[in-house]
């Protein structure tokens, strides 16, 4: 029925191959158009393939086998096309298409224009492999490929040392997480004897005991924390802002970083069988608060959004950790819309301000860039959780799940509320700093609205940021019913029942959001002296936030520098002295033995003759003594 679903991966992959070989000849803007069309085609195919889930309630989907690769371990090229995969594929290709379109304008004039779209298409294909793969081998394949694409795209402008370093950092930090994921996969394999989803999830209750399930869950969490930028592995994401802004929007906000959330949701039965879920939720909550507090004091427009992304991913982790898989996926979706919009908007601003990223040098841009300003304003309200925008519904569902969980859940709920307040604060602060007040532009900067190819995606995403929330309101649980078949094997956590409870919780969280937004609006709509006085009121705390708690320095001092010292010791002392010393020692011994014995080699035939005769005599004498034993 949905055998054609492999086309979803094939279109971007074909686009990547085509652009790789012909990109330079196709040039600008043709290469960008082809890349965009490949992404859009994948979206169309995904949409058509998802139709059966919409018309037919309770449709589980199917597993489409494409090619038997390693059947013995359940690692084949196969696609699990179920509602969860469909939602992920639609988000990835939908947001991906818009960002491709945006990039046509944003990357205008870049000398590696076509190469950029090669990477973007390759990324889409990799991400779709991750979310559509029907076994853990394919998920891991996609997992590593998106890591590679992330590296390639972060360091796209590789002549800039900071970009090259950021790409390297992202790759290395992700490797740490991947290691945990890989060990988890080995544990899965030793227990189930296969990597195929079909042979794992249904058999979890009969095969896994609680502690093994917890161990697998925790190892998966290590991998997810790397990819989804959670404590302690989040440090790569803020640096990843060195890449072109569409990359930040696509990979580091909307899609790749959600892979960890997807992994937990996909492995729901394993998490349900053990106690790893609560750890996931706690890590998520801590990350949400930690990153949000850092975002308060950032002045780089993209860094605010980067820390905001880390924080929002923490939210999703709270949800999936507590069993609210649908709430987590719902927030993943709405976040993809409004965060992609925020990033693209910031890209539009950066573009219009001639590559300026410091918000202290912006201000008053609303008049010059009305479309960007208004759409970013909508996204700001959405992320702040103001009803009826998308962020309100999804964030509230997560907070409701935490509240209903009780016990630790109440603590997480409070953390979530504080985070919501902070989120509203820093996002509003950003909007006011960029778009209102006196212009603080550097001389010679002439801001201008971006071209149509960039504003159209902004408008589409703004519409989605407003409307996507209605997909899953307590009044109409469309997404919930859509996703239910994928989570039949587990008990999905829900917010408290009843409209009264919903209204109460919503009132509290909206109150927190409005309080944060109002505080920021009150301060940052005034002249700069007021902000500085306000910021000064926090004392050393503000500086700590500004410096991101100096976590990079801490890691540098405790891990990077000792690691580097150890490597140097191994390379220059142990290898050069120990290994090389041994090998050279053997050589020297042979050489000196040769020098000692070479005196025997006189070159005089007579001497050799004497030796020859002496040997002959010795043999004869020995024969005589031995008594003719010949």
């Amino acid at each position: 029925m949905t055998d054609f679903v492999w086309l979803v991966i094939a279109f971007p992959l074909a686009g990547a191959v085509l652009l790789h070989f012909l990109g330079r000849r196709l040039g600008e803007p043709l290469a960008g158009i082809i890349g965009t069309l490949a992404a859009a085609a994948a979206f169309v195919v995904a949409f058509v393939a998802a139709l059966p889930f919409i018309v037919e309630e309770g449709n589980h989907g199917e597993t489409v086998m494409l090619w038997e690769w390693m059947p013995a371990i359940g690692a084949n090229l196969e696609i699990t096309w179920d509602p969860l995969a469909a939602v992920m594929a639609l988000i990835v290709t939908g947001v991906g298409s818009l960002i491709h379109l945006f990039s046509v304008g944003y990357m205008h004039g870049d000398e590696r224009f076509a190469r950029f779209f090669t990477y973007l298409n390759l990324f889409l294909a990799s991400m779709l492999t991750l979310v559509l793969g029907g076994n853990f081998a394919m998920v891991f394949l996609g997992w590593e490929l998106v890591g590679l694409c992330s590296y390639l795209l972060i360091s796209f402008w590789y002549t800039k040392p900071s970009a090259a370093a950021a790409g390297k950092k992202a790759f290395v930090v992700n490797r740490i997480g991947d290691f945990g994921f890989m060990v988890g996969l080995m544990l899965v394999f030793t227990n189930f004897g296969t990597l195929a989803f079909d042979g794992i999830f249904e058999r979890v209750p009969e095969i896994l005991d609680g502690s093994t399930a917890t161990a697998i869950g925790l190892l998966f969490l290590v991998g997810a924390a790397g990819k989804s930028a959670q404590i302690p592995l989040y440090v790569w994401l803020p640096d990843a802002m060195e890449g072109p802004t569409p990359v930040s929007a696509l990979i580091h906000a909307a899609t790749m970083v959600t892979a960890g959330v997807y992994l937990v949701a996909r492995s729901a039965t394993i998490f349900a069988a053990g106690d790893a879920g609560i750890v996931v939720a706690v890590v998520g909550a801590l990350t949400a608060l930690w990153a949000a507090s850092i975002a308060i004091a950032q002045s780089d427009i993209k860094r605010v959004l980067a820390y905001s992304t880390v924080s929002q991913l923490g939210y999703m982790f709270i949800a999936v950790g507590l069993g609210g898989y649908i709430a987590g996926i719902f927030h993943l979706m709405t976040h993809a819309f409004f965060k992609a919009l925020l990033f693209l908007g910031s890209g539009s601003v950066i573009h219009g301000m001639h590559e300026e990223q410091d918000m202290n040098k912006m201000g008053g841009l609303l008049e010059k860039m009305p479309v960007t300003g208004v759409t970013m304003g909508i996204a700001t309200l959405a992320i702040a959780g103001i009803p009826p925008l998308a962020g309100f519904w999804s964030k509230d569902e997560i907070l409701g799940v935490a509240f209903e969980y009780g016990g630790v859940g109440i603590v997480l709920w409070v953390i979530g509320l504080v985070t919501a307040l902070i989120t509203a604060f820093y996002m509003t602060r950003q909007w006011f700093m960029v778009f209102t007040g006196e212009p603080r532009w550097e001389e010679g900067v002439d801001p201008h609205e971006s071209p149509r190819s960039m504003t159209v995606p902004l408008i589409v995403l703004a519409v989605l940021s407003v409307g996507a929330g209605f997909l899953n309101t307590p009044f109409r649980l469309t997404l919930e019913h859509f996703l239910e078949p994928s989570f039949e094997l587990v008990k999905v956590a829900h917010p408290p029942e009843g409209l009264g409870m919903f209204a109460l919780l919503a009132a509290i969280s909206v109150g927190a959001g409005i309080a944060g937004a109002a505080m920021a609006g009150f301060v940052y709509s005034r002249p700069r002296e007021i902000w500085e006085r306000f910021q000064g009121g926090f004392g050393g705390l503000w500086e700590a936030w500004q410096a991101a708690y100096r976590v990079d320095d801490l890691y540098g001092a405790t891990i990077v520098t000792p690691g580097r010292k150890l490597s140097e010791r191994m390379a220059f002392d142990f290898d050069a002295g120990g290994i090389d010393g041994f090998v050279n020692g053997v050589g020297r011994a042979v050489r000196s033995a040769g020098a000692r014995t070479r005196v025997l080699q006189t070159g005089l035939v007579r001497n050799y003759g004497v030796g020859f005769v002496a040997g002959l005599l010795a043999v004869v004498i020995w024969l005589v003594i031995a008594g003719g034993g010949v």
Partner: protein, 102 residues
């Protein structure tokens, strides 16, 4: 009348062999050394023939034929080498041919 027994022949062969061996060890002239080698070969031949006759079978004589053939071949090659060296060096002393010294 003294009867010439096999022992006499064997003794003569031993003397000839020793002379040849001594010559190889003490002389430097390549040609002389070569003649010494021939002397040793013929001493061996004599041993073969004497032993064969004493034991009354023909294998000794047969072996001599092989030795003669090999010796003839050796003479051809060896003399050719000596002539070539002499042309190049104007000397037949083997002590000067010590380029293989370690």
């Amino acid at each position: 009348m003294i009867e010439v027994t096999a022992g006499w022949y064997l003794s003569l062969a031993a003397v000839l062999f020793s002379i040849g061996l001594l010559g190889i060890l003490v002389r430097r002239n390549a040609l002389i050394m070569f003649m010494c080698v021939e002397l040793m070969l013929n001493a061996v031949n004599l041993t073969f023939v004497a032993a064969g006759r004493a034991l009354g079978n023909l294998e000794g004589q047969v072996a001599v034929f092989f030795v003669l053939v090999v010796a003839a071949a050796e003479v051809v090659v060896g003399l050719a080498i000596i002539v070539a060296i002499f042309r190049r060096r104007e000397s037949a002393s083997v002590d000067e041919l010590a380029t293989l010294r370690g």
